[in-house]
């Protein structure tokens, strides 16, 4: 891709700052839908190769194993300005992919945990991960435009969230709704920043 404002012939062009936001959650919770609804590009898919021993060694960086499996990761892009670009990464939240999350979450602004209230437990591993690693996150309950079975208070209790983690509803198919989730996350990250200053 060519970033706007970047002329390949000009040496003076600005190199953009790139920022990561992660989108986690169980299978079918709407990760790719959310990435797609708010991204300026159709979500692109890339794959990470894992060796069979992936949980025992830092195999993310190696390709020496003959027996490899791959885990797909979808990503999208939001160009805030010519010199500031946000990348959204949607990827499986199961525990066995945690070593991959270590790489993905390095330096990230924060994470969105998508929850399906019919299968709330599916997002527990993602919440565990971000709590443990002190990464700012919000929980977005994807309503899929359908019925709401539980109140947000009940869901918050069921998730036994620590601190003041925002729990909001969203419809991941709608751009404005997905955008609001990201705004909530970024605002939460700022609040966490201020908390850290005065801690």
């Amino acid at each position: 891709m060519a970033y706007g404002g970047y002329d390949s012939g000009a040496a003076t062009a600005v190199t953009p700052v790139t920022v990561k936001i992660l989108v986690a959650g169980g299978f079918g919770a709407g990760k790719t839908t959310l990435v797609g609804s708010v991204s300026e590009i159709r979500p692109l898919r890339t794959e990470e190769t894992l060796s069979e021993r992936s949980e025992l060694v830092d195999s993310l960086y190696g390709v020496e194993q003959k027996s490899t499996t791959t885990v797909a990761m979808d990503f999208g892009r939001i160009t805030i300005r010519d010199d500031l670009v946000v990348y959204l990464f949607g990827t499986p939240g199961q525990r066995r992919f945690w070593f991959m999350w270590d790489d993905l979450s390095y330096g990230a602004l924060g994470a969105v945990v998508l929850a399906d209230e019919r299968r709330l437990a599916d997002c527990f591993p993602s919440i565990d991960y971000f709590e443990r690693n002190n990464i700012p996150f919000v929980v977005a309950v994807n309503s899929f435009g359908g019925a709401q079975h539980h109140s947000l208070e009940t869901i918050t209790q069921a998730l036994s969230l620590s601190g003041r983690v925002p729990v909001i509803r969203c419809d991941a198919r709608r751009r404005a709704s997905s955008r609001d989730v990201l705004v909530t996350l970024a605002e939460h990250a700022i609040a966490r920043h201020h908390e850290a200053q005065f801690a």
Binding site: E47, E48, G62, T68, Y87, L104, L109
Partner: protein, 121 residues
């Protein structure tokens, strides 16, 4: 690696082993490369270099700064393979890496700019 009209499909797994695409290298060298680090061809990168087709394609696509993850998607290669290709090109002085700055809780200015920018979407 998708070859249309063949008897196998992606379910069969990769047809070419990853290390065959990396000239036998199995690990990236040097500092860790992030998925959003920007890769750019060095001005000195000339023609007629002994490059694999994949490396030549990386070089061609990063005449402007491109994040590693977009190179992987464009080339339809696993990110692990692209990390190795790029780190090898870097060691040979053919690309430069612009490292992304961790945002985390540290950079209030960027966080505020992201909030403002998202609100305008």
């Amino acid at each position: 690696m998708q070859l249309e009209g063949e008897w196998f499909d992606s379910e069969a797994g990769p047809v070419v082993r990853p290390y065959a695409l990396t000239g036998g290298l199995t690990r990236p060298s040097g500092q860790r490369l992030d998925l959003i680090d920007l890769v750019r061809a060095a001005r000195t990168a000339g023609r007629n270099l002994p490059l694999s087709p994949e490396q030549a394609e990386v070089l061609q696509r990063c005449q402007i700064p491109v994040p590693l993850v977009e190179l992987a998607a464009d080339l339809n290669l696993p990110t692990g393979v692209v990390r190795i290709l790029v780190s090898d090109l870097r060691d040979r002085g053919l690309v430069t890496i612009h490292r992304s700055k961790p945002v985390g809780l540290s950079d209030l200015k960027i966080l505020q700019e992201v909030v403002d920018g998202l609100r305008r979407l």
